[in-house]
Amino acid sequence: MTWLVWRQHRNQAYIAAAALALFAVVMLITGRQMASQYHSALISCAATHTCSDLATTLNLGSPVLFLLINLTLLVPCLLGVFWGGPLVARELETGTAQFAWTQSISRSRWLAIKVGWAMLAAAAWGGAVSALVTWWSSPVNALQHQNFRAGQFDVQGIVPVSYALFAVALGIAAGAVLRRTVPALATTIGVFVALRVVIASYVRPHYMTAVTKTYRLAFAHPMPSIPGSYWQVSRGIVGPGGQAASSAAHSGVGVSINGTLVTLPPACNSLLSQDPPKIFSCLAAHGYRAFITYQPANRYWAFQGIEAGIFALLAAALVAVSVIVVLRRDA
């Protein structure tokens, strides 16, 4: 049976292997260049004590490379469309399922081996691409501290493997239910994109309760220092009673701080025409404080794990659906 799976899909496997090899060559060459560029920049900045500005002065990579990295977001979807969707649907559509199902092999074994290899291949390809991207990105991650950004979080670490498993399982299930290849492909793309967007935008921020830090308003140091690639959920100013400072409880003159419109208490109104630092100290004196809500950097792998777990569970559920549909339904 494994031989049949290989014979059926070897051309796809060759193409995917060639694409992966090409991608690996690009990543390895440019990744090494970038790593050495970052290293020498670190050495020279240490000599001149300008390393704190390195994030703004050093330009790593190129727009084309970052576009390529962003395109790896599509890898799980492509695997779902080209490997998952046709896996069962094409056999039902062309009738070859009837050929296979009347050989001396049970339908469950047939499905298990096909699905097993497809999932394994998806995990391998998704993992290989992710590993290359993660390695390539390490200087960028170290420089920019933006590991939680969607364009980075979603293409690095272990989540791409889980996305790939989910996309392939989705394709298989859509094919088993719809029994036609093209509608299965369309369904795979639609559901995959929709679910990814919903989870990344609305579910991911709440995997763990965010940490909130309040701090004294001061013009010179608007922000406390938070180590590493933390993920900022929100920031702003709270009034003396802890209420949101932007509430239009009483009309007055406002000033925008850190993107929050703060209505000045009457006592500070007179300072409006004067230096901004004085407004800050006036606000601080009247009990106004700044806050930042964020996910600390050390939660990165917990978030990767939770998101990977969610998609792995969804993939398992879809495989179960495929098994039930294939075994229960008439050929």
Partner: protein, 304 residues
Amino acid sequence: MMASSDPAVIQTRALSKRYRTVAALTDCTITVPEGRISALIGPNGAGKTTLLRLLAGLARPTGGDIAVLGTAPRPDPAFLAGIGFLAQEIPLYRRMSAADHIRIGAHLNARWDGTSVRQRLEGLGIPLGQAVGTLSGGQRAQLALALTLAKRPRLLLLDEPVAALDPLARRQFLAHLAEAAAGGGLTVLLSSHLLSDLERICDHLVLLAGSRVQLCGDVDALLAEHQILVGPRKDTTAIERDHTLVHAVRTPRQTTLLIRRNGPVIDPAFETADVSLEELVLGYMGQHADGPSPAHLSAIGGDQ
């Protein structure tokens, strides 16, 4: 070789299959004894494909019982090893070669005679290395039959295998099939909507029309049980009382009756004639086409 005591390879009782609101097969009771080459005849949409798929375990019945080779059809290796199934569209992997298919069969079947397929294809001049999608319809059908036979099945289920073939390919296909059956131990059920395709090769008949079984039995016995009566136009109630009227054609002057007889026909006004297989089949199909058939006219299930 043929005896009524041959064990039944296929036995169904009150078998039914509904697809949502459509009845594909209704109250189907048939028996096919071992060693027969049975023709499953019926107009398009009569339920032939449904019956074959139920027998192969590819579909599940909604009512009644099936025993194929002594067990209920089920998708497990032990059952599947005993049957060979060839679907109407002759589904093979179009991009793969005959040699690839032989290898697939070797991987998927514990009992597999790949050499027989190679020999057969070489004998027919069918290339082993060429993609199956580029072969002619007749070559594909021959390949599919050879692959199905390589399992050494005890029961072969073929769905309209010759419908799309030209006369020469049709003859070669049936000769291949007959040769396999001559080896012994093989029972065949093959469907067609054209009796003429199967007349020579079949010694057993299952006639379906309107999702119901109209006739089932050994061809010789069925022919002996039926008779054509040709006579003047007259009251035929006496004949209808003694025998089972299958089909009647009445003109102002003449009456032609197809009857299933119970004993000899004694009516000097009627000339009797033996019935041909074609007349028999057309008679039962015509009966069905004329309107809903009374249950007692069904030749199945002990109507005597």
